[in-house]
């Protein structure tokens, strides 16, 4: 959001208000006292399990493992942590040398423990329990061990429903943030790829990973992204949409300024271009910032198909966007203000079709537009199979009935459905939503002032587009501040071996992307 200058930057404690009511006392040595301290926080939760056991040796040392059910990998805990501790650990040097050697033993024996940390005070202890980390408490040792063995069920990686491609990879992100990071890491083995993690939301403490390539991305942009994310002083976030709305530049604009996608193979090229990718835990949609307008009209398979075909398809998308926005409006303007513009016989057939229809053109077009939008919404809300049939059936039957009942002329139904199809031909779903909205004001302007109103609307939208910025980068970049070298990849996509430089519109450090592969056949 537009960074409103805050009076005072948010202090650390202001953000962790929820932790405040947990006293920051030092942990006592005796196990029973520790359990006493922990009881008020964990006894109410049915899914927090406390597993007490004895360490092998005489006299036996009592210990307790505290973990959340189904969040950690129960096998690893039993086989690799509890079993070795219970059975074969020599007790004598345990007590004497304190918890230091204990970590050594656990480290050696429990091979899957990824991170082991010592916790000294109660508030961070309670917080780590609820973060889903296993706690080992020993009688007689004041330190407590926290072992991060995440597990639990999660969706397996499969094709993202919204973004199908013929030739691209079939892998899509899932809800687990570390799996998502792994998906990207597997595709981008560059040592400069930096993954930074912050926690967002005071209560949900969702992990947000910020990925960028250190020697490519512009440090100012990275810093701006981090600042905006840190400024999010919110109770909890459940989807990346929250983050998007907080970090975009102009929330009141119709056009999306943050690119979101479920496909890792779409985000890796953006990382290579110097953009910052934000992955939020529990949501498969990752964000890429800064986003340009032309980006929403590009699809991943443009780069997998051969040049001519992909350029052709990309040009068709631009035509689709222009048609989706302006076709109904120009139909209204043509038919009610400047009919002489049409060729003569088309004009006569139009007015013959409209003789029987009682409504003026704009009412007719608006009715059809609203009906078709509602049909689409109905189609979305119903389960998959029924949704499809509802869409198709109502489209045909409604249209036919409207024509026979002479409520709408056949031409207006054709025009509205063509523009709806064009809207859904656009690859990025956020642009589809904004196009559906833009169409209405354009129709209103066309209805009141004809082609003049239409061109006035076009100028206002063009100015709005040109004035937008995404993270300081001009939003309409390769067109408004015309960057000729970027035009290679905007309307058409030149040959892969010709794209030697990174796009200029995204500020980046080393612009050289690839040597000139293959000798220039001059």
């Amino acid at each position: 959001m537009k960074i409103r200058p805050r009076k005072t930057p948010p202090t650390a404690d202001a953000r962790d208000r929820s932790i405040k009511n947990i006293p920051d006392t030092k942990l006592p040595v005796a196990l029973s006292e520790k359990m006493q301290l922990l009881k008020p926080y964990i006894e109410k939760n049915y899914d927090i399990i406390t597993h007490s056991f004895y360490l092998e040796g005489n006299p036996r040392l009592e210990a307790v493992a505290v973990y959340i059910n189904q969040v950690i990998d129960i096998e690893i805990l039993n086989l690799h942590i509890l079993k070795p501790l219970m059975l074969n650990c020599d007790r004598e040097d345990l007590l004497t040398s304190g918890s230091h050697t204990l970590i050594e033993t656990i480290y050696k024996t429990s091979i899957t423990a990824s991170r082991i940390a010592k916790i000294a005070n109660l508030s961070s202890l309670v917080q780590t329990i609820f973060d889903g980390i296993t706690i080992l408490m020993f009688d007689g040792l004041d330190d407590v061990l926290a072992i991060d063995i995440h597990g639990g069920k999660s969706r397996n990686i499969d094709v993202p429903p919204a973004e199908q491609t013929m030739r691209g990879s079939r892998e899509g992100f899932i809800e687990r943030v570390d799996v998502n990071i792994a998906l990207i890491r597997r595709r981008l083995r560059d040592p400069n790829l930096v993954v930074e993690k912050t926690l967002v939301g005071r209560r949900t403490r969702t992990e947000v990973a910020i990925l960028y390539i250190d020697d490519i991305a512009d440090p100012q942009i990275v810093q701006k992204v981090k600042d905006r994310i840190n400024q999010m002083d919110i109770d909890g976030i459940v989807a990346s949409g929250y983050v998007e709305q907080f970090i975009e530049d102009d929330p009141s604009s119709l056009f999306p300024q943050v690119y979101s996608s479920e496909r890792p193979d779409k985000l890796v090229p953006y990382l290579l271009e110097g953009r910052v990718v934000i992955i939020v835990d529990n949501t498969p949609l990752a964000l890429a910032v800064p986003a340009l307008f032309v980006q929403f009209l590009q699809a991943p398979e443009d780069y997998y198909e051969r040049t001519l075909f992909s350029s052709y398809i990309r040009l068709m998308r631009y035509v689709a966007w222009i048609v989706a926005v302006s076709l109904p409006a120009s139909y209204i303007a043509l038919l009610s203000y400047q009919p002489e513009l049409l060729p003569y016989d088309l004009l006569i057939s139009f007015s013959k079709a409209r003789v029987a229809v009682p409504f003026p053109v704009v009412v007719e077009a608006l009715i059809m537009e609203i009906i078709i939008q509602l049909v689409i919404e109905a189609g979305l809300r119903l389960p998959q199979q029924i949704g499809q049939t509802v869409g198709v059936v109502s489209g045909i039957i409604l249209g036919q009935a409207a024509i026979t009942a002479k409520l709408a002329s056949p031409i207006v139904i054709l025009i509205i459905s063509v523009s709806v199809i064009c809207t859904y031909a656009l690859p990025a779903s956020s642009l589809v939503l904004s196009t559906r909205i833009i169409r209405l004001p354009m129709m209103m302007l066309a209805a009141s002032f004809g082609l003049f109103g239409l061109s006035f609307g076009a100028i206002i939208f063009l100015t709005h587009l040109v004035s937008l910025e995404s993270m300081g980068v001009p939003y309409f970049s390769p067109l408004a501040p015309t960057r000729f070298s970027d035009l290679k990849d905007t309307f058409i996509r030149t040959f892969m071996w010709k794209m030697n430089k990174r796009p200029v519109s995204i500020p980046s450090h080393n612009p050289q992307r690839q040597g000139n592969t293959g000798e220039e056949n001059d």
Partner: protein, 365 residues
């Protein structure tokens, strides 16, 4: 004085701003006005007419180089003292209001004549004023970007005008040189009037981040405008011939009505729809320049209050545009506005140079 990064434009964008403030609705009437004076050799006088804007660009750039880091208003106040300087600035703003109200009025007349015959003129003018305020309120960087994309769009549109050259008759521009030096000179003067807009450089000079490239940018801008004017005048001469040109109010638009394109029967409606952006462009640029110098004059903080100054300027342009009786009186006023351009475009820089020379470099701030 001004934080460099946020409100500056590159020299490449300056080219488009200058072209943007020159080419407006006047380009359509230019062939009639020039061929009225210079007959068949109208195209020679167009080339000659370009000398005045070249001179003006050169003088203004020299001025800026002599006093870098100084805005147009600061320069005036510095050189001429408080009240004389502000009088000069107010004169400049008044000139901009008068000139732009003519530009806006003629564009509104075209839109009214072709697209909305029954809509009262005041409504069409209101649309243009709203677009002036909206575009101006976004700041100079956005203005420059918009000018850039509208320029490429405009050049594309002007290529459409060349379609009817197929029906041209080359004898219309022969014999060359028969209009005599006096005719060509008078024609050159009328062309110079339609170059009005170069004086936007006075205000935008200080907004360019790399000051040394301004001269090159200015000269390129005037060259491009001259080429576009030349193409328009020659096409109209070839297609209509001098005798007919005097009869047509907007020969540029009539060009499109001459040939029959198979599918789109009427090219000029489509052309006018896309020309909407370009029609109001000189008013937008000059209006912004005037509001900038007004807010600097009143010493109000540009960032916040520039929009109000712009609203005031746009309102003034709106009211002034409603005054002329009808289009014929607008054309009569066009010549007076032309004199205004000569005074502002050439007179001001000369006056400043003189004052700077007399001041010998020390300012009274």
């Amino acid at each position: 004085m001004k934080d460099k990064t946020s409100s500056t434009i590159t020299s490449k964008q300056l080219i488009f701003v200058i072209i943007g403030s020159q080419i407006g609705a006047g380009i359509f009437a230019l062939p009639r006005m020039v061929s009225g004076k210079a007959g068949e050799d109208a195209w020679i006088s167009v080339v000659l007419g370009a000398i005045i804007p070249f001179l003006s660009v050169f003088l203004i750039e020299r001025l800026g180089r002599r006093m870098p880091q100084m805005g147009f208003t600061q320069m005036a106040l510095g050189l001429f003292g408080k009240n004389v300087g502000s009088v000069l600035i107010i004169l400049f703003i008044a000139y901009v209001l008068l000139f732009e109200s003519l530009v806006v009025r003629s564009f509104a007349e075209i839109a009214n004549l072709y697209l909305l015959p029954k809509t009262p003129l005041a409504v069409v003018l209101l649309f243009i004023t709203i677009s002036i305020v909206y575009i101006g309120s976004k700041g100079v960087r956005v203005l420059a970007r918009l000018n850039e994309i509208l320029f490429y769009f405009g050049v594309l549109l002007l290529f459409i005008l060349i379609i009817p050259v197929g029906q041209a008759d080359y004898t219309n521009i022969l014999p060359v040189g028969e209009a005599g030096l006096k005719g060509i000179a008078r024609g050159a003067l009328t062309t110079a009037y339609s170059f009005a807009g170069t004086e936007v450089l006075l205000v935008f000079y200080s907004l360019v981040n790399k000051q040394e490239e301004v001269l090159k940018a200015g000269l390129i801008a005037v060259c491009i405008t001259t080429l576009l004017y030349l193409a328009m005048v020659i096409t109209c001469l070839l297609v209509f011939g001098v005798n007919n040109l005097q009869r047509i109010l907007w020969p540029g638009l009539m060009l499109l009505k001459v040939s029959q394109v198979p599918v789109l029967e009427r090219l000029e409606f489509i052309f006018l729809v896309f020309w909407m952006g370009m029609g109001a462009r000189p008013a937008v640029n000059m209006g912004f320049a005037a509001s900038l110098s007004l807010s600097q004059l009143l010493k109000i903080d540009e960032k916040k209050y520039n929009t109000y100054a712009l609203m005031f300027i746009a309102l003034a342009i709106y009211i002034l545009a409603l005054l002329p009786h009808n289009l014929l009186s607008v054309f009569k006023l066009w010549d007076y506005a032309g004199y205004g351009f000569l005074i502002i475009g050439l007179g001001y820089p000369l006056l400043y140079h003189l004052a700077a020379f007399m001041r010998g470099g020390k300012m009274l701030v």
